[in-house]
């Protein structure tokens, strides 16, 4: 079973990396980009039966720093 964890900065937290990407996009001539926020994607390959609360626990204890980051878990259906 696989799951993806998306980690994003909380709104209001300054994202210097996102700002730099935004600036670079403008430098390449892409207009109309209002804002850029950068985050992380972590893919987990998990034993079958790993519960949602286990994954949430992983996020809270290590994968995300909940002082500044939010996380969202997406389970992938495996065939």
């Amino acid at each position: 079973m696989k799951a993806r964890v998306f980690i994003t900065l909380k709104s209001g937290v300054l994202d210097p990396q996102g700002k730099a990407i935004h600036h670079a996009l403008e430098g390449l001539g892409f207009s109309g980009v209002n804002d850029v926020r950068a985050g992380k994607l972590i893919e987990l390959d998990l034993a079958d039966g790993t519960s949602d609360s286990d994954i949430e626990d992983m996020c809270r204890k290590l994968l995300a720093n909940t002082v500044i980051e939010n996380f969202r878990i997406e389970r992938l259906q495996t065939a």
Binding site: V13, L14, P16, Q17, A20, K61, L62, L63, N65, V67, I68
Partner: protein, 221 residues
Amino acid sequence: MNSAVIVFPGSNCDRDLAVALEQVTGRKPAMVWHKDAELPEGIDFIGVPGGFSYGDYLRSGAMAARSPVMRAVKDAAAHGVPVIGICNGFQVLTEAGLLPGALMRNAGLSFVCRNVPLRVENSQSLFTSAYDADEEIVFPVAHHDGNYQADEATLDRLEDEGRVAFRYLDECNGSARSIAGILNDAGNVLGLMPHPERVIEPAHGRTDGRRLFEGLLETVA
């Protein structure tokens, strides 16, 4: 004073800190590897040094904060043992939950490596008693992720409780309220981005950092 310096893979200021402690206390600190689950007996002071523990993987200090030795450090801190986290050590202490807030990428995105003027905001703490109130000092900084951030309520609480130990006098890295170093609520844990251990003897060009260790020695010993 018996001190311990924690060593993670990627620490690179551990020896500087050990030299500073030995010079000031007259005793070599115990160098404690991150996989050790216990600290040596009778430790009066713990230093978490600067560097790039675990290559700054995931977030600066994130992996180190979950290493076995940090459980022992948390235990010791809870029992009142003074703990200092310098640079990466500060990042480790926030990630470990020993200090509030987080250290993010410098607002200017650049690695900052220079001497910075600081003001001693609290000269009554375990770590700062050898400084005068509002004294202005200079410590070097060398970091990429030193931008201290916390929510407004936390920042207000730090200010109201005198837990801002050091503040930058010039813009350095975008830190909220120019915070360079903070104390925990019990006052026995200090985290700061600037490096006091790099300014302890005349050959360093300045000796502003020496009094931090001397003050500590006086209060602890």
